[in-house]
Symmetry: C2
Subunit: 289 residues, 2 copies
């Protein structure tokens, strides 16, 4: 199944047969004080810097979040999206729980965006899915509903099925629903990582949909989080994960995801691997000279 | 299914429900000139050093190889095993294609060893499997037979089935056959990594056996091999890999495998992860003082 995202002429395909899609997470004022302060003043120079850096580090899609407490989120998200469109042509992902903010961004966007996200709560789906349909977007469906996050892979499959079915009710095809299996922290529950991995495999094999993940929660509260997060992406990829909202400017994330593409048979003649190696060598040489 | 290895009172269990088992690969004179020279003179001080270093780096089992062209392999393997038994109590894996060398090691070993390896060639199985039975050992069965290495996961499953069935003919239970799905190099064939990963999943789900891998072949001929090898271990673990013959003294291998245990639900309360982090911090502090 292929989830096609576009920005004008530029197209990105999320699918098990294509390279893993990195959705750059950095344009998000939560826990980034400097970025939040500048965005709150409707200044988007740091947003643009983050856009450029992430794309050059390998992000194929950029997540844009403008959630600042007390601020006018629709205006800010629209402003941030305009700023990003001014410096890059990769497809965008609009990250908000506010339907007005989502619509403000969707209405000016020249392509097929990804919406991050809806849960399987009826109150949420009934507000977000009509926007997905109206603007011909794709949507990330998060595996949680009125009862919370299901404990077992079978119950998570049921919630994923509900998301796909409700989307179909609104005329949205399954390929435009990307499921997020939710990585809870293994620091709180040692089995949390495993349940999510098993859910991914089950949902992928039963529904055939693409899977995304916000992969850094899993390590919350533990030391050496980067090692855990990188390992989790690799484990996820072997279980059907096709995209992740993550930070491509972290070298280990970038190189491991590229190695996974190579090892999953998505890098013919190891061309991308070898080219990326040469870029790293050049960058090293430039840094030393 | 549990593959139990022992050395006197010490026991190691290979199974999907236990921490991943690192079989330390370093005691192997192939491509290690200094080690080969000393072993050829029946000096085993470097062998002992490698044994101690690997165990302290997290190897639960040690592979012992004494294959030096022109040397008396049975005598050398026996000498190396005696030397290793003198400094550590972890279970051992005897790595030889020479049945006399295997028997020389098995006959003095105080426990249940792992034999590395037999192929599914009849000429090989008929020599190795009787030794496995006689000395109550376990064996690594490599997915290749008279026709070479099968191209598809289904054909590799058939070879794995043959290995398990011939072992049963000799009275060896399936839990004592650990299958090596063979990682061919992705530099020569872009799909090689994927075929092996798909084979792992198929063989694990159909036969329930444990899986091991010599994981470093996969990156042969490519740059930045370590990143590829580490990613491959993580991908393999998500597909049922339960052990690997690898180098635990490489920090990235050690930490990634431990992160995978945490994420696969095999590290209750993240105790091992946190303890290993503290050991790393101590080692760093000691190195700086």
């Amino acid at each position: 199944m292929e989830t096609v995202l576009t920005n004008k002429d530029k197209q990105v395909i999320i699918s098990p047969d294509h390279p893993f899609v990195i959705i750059g997470e950095r344009i998000n004022p939560t826990r980034r004080k400097k970025l939040a302060e500048s965005m709150a003043q409707s200044r988007f120079d740091l947003v643009q810097e983050d856009a450029i850096n992430q794309v050059s580090a390998g992000a194929q899609v950029l997540d844009v979040n403008a959630g600042i407490p007390g601020a006018d989120e629709p205006a800010l998200l629209r402003g941030a999206v305009e700023a990003v469109l001014g410096v890059t042509d990769v497809p965008l992902c609009f990250d908000s729980a506010n339907p007005d903010a989502l619509e403000a961004a969707l209405s000016i966007y020249p392509g097929k965006a990804l919406i991050n996200s809806t849960t399987a709560e009826e109150s949420m789906m009934s507000r977000v899915l009509p926007l997905v349909k109206k603007y011909h977007a794709a949507v990330i469906g998060v595996i949680t509903d009125e009862s919370g996050i299901p404990a077992t892979p079978a119950d998570r499959l049921a919630v994923a099925r509900k998301l796909v079915q409700r989307a179909a009710d609104f005329g949205i095809p399954a390929e435009d629903v990307v499921i997020d299996c939710l990585a809870l922290t293994v620091g709180a529950d040692s089995k949390a990582g495993r349940v999510t991995l098993d859910s991914m495999q089950l949902i992928q094999s039963e529904l055939g949909v693409n899977l995304s993940l916000g992969a850094s929660n899993v390590s919350f509260g533990l030391p050496d989080r980067k090692i855990i997060n990188v390992a989790y992406l690799a484990l996820g990829i072997a279980r059907g994960l096709t995209a992740a909202i993550t930070d491509p400017t972290v070298p280990e994330i970038q190189t491991t995801l590229m190695a996974c593409d190579l090892l999953m048979g998505r890098d013919d003649y190891a061309m991308r691997w070898i080219q990326a190696f040469r870029r790293r060598e050049k960058a090293k040489a430039a840094a030393q000279s």
